[in-house]
Symmetry: C2
DNA sequence: TTGACATATTCCGTTATAGGAATATATTGA
DNA sequence: TCAATATATTCCTATAACGGAATATGTCAA
């Protein structure tokens, strides 16, 4: 079987880099499709299709003003992604802590011994 | 063109629900492939392939112990996803704030007028 | 060495995807 | 009504993805 359909899943929707760029753009302000096309230098149909995917998963909403459709992000749906990754927070905090502690220890050794800080000792 | 290759991108790697389940499992503790197979009721080759993807993007690391390969998460790579979604935090905070304020306002009106809280008035 | 076990890899078939080109729809103004 | 503008949709094609089955690799124990 191929990949689970992109259309009904926020994770899949934001897996596509262009769609993330679109969301980035829209995070600053509501924009009509044409502006997105120009700013990201993408083909208009391509942008419309990406917006369609984002709309279907609820990450974006459109408002018509004359001939233009202004899109804005409805980023509430990203909270799920944020929360999921958050459950792994301790891992990178842990990693950063290691680095920090290692640096501090090295600095301390250097201070007391008069040597330069040692480069990253191998292993954990 | 089809989708950007899954192999070199954390966002794509975690777009697949099974891979997220695997990461969830591994977040608790290091596990050999066989255990993942049993717990998630997936075919062994399927699990190996998913682990391969996760390994290639650096979300997982393996350690051999006898015949078994113990995998553990290397979740540092998820920080990028977490940080990206974090840039949209204000949107859902904003939304939740709206809901909260609306509920509070409704409760207040109800309290002073003796009426039931009004259901969500339309619009922003 | 052989056999059993644990895991990875390969091959195959099906299917959703993304881009491009062409076209359809909607809105405005004349 | 018609033309112009803005956007969406459709059709087409190439490709990567996933699952399943079969097989390969690696490790241990006898």
């Amino acid at each position: 079987m191929p990949r689970a359909t992109t259309t009904s899943d926020v994770f899949n929707a934001v897996a596509e880099p262009r769609r993330r760029e679109i969301l980035d753009l829209l995070s600053a302000s509501e924009l009509p499709v044409g502006v997105i096309v120009v700013r990201l230098r993408l083909a208009q149909p391509s942008v419309s299709k990406h917006l369609g995917v984002l709309r279907r998963v609820g990450l974006v909403r459109a408002r018509r003003h004359g001939r233009q459709l202004f899109y804005r992000t409805e980023a509430l749906g990203l909270e799920a992604v944020h929360e999921w990754t958050k459950t792994f927070e301790r891992f990178w905090n842990h990693q950063l802590l290691q680095v920090k502690l290692r640096a501090e220890a090295a600095a301390k050794v250097a201070a007391t011994s008069g040597l330069n800080p040692t480069p990253n000792p191998q292993g954990e």
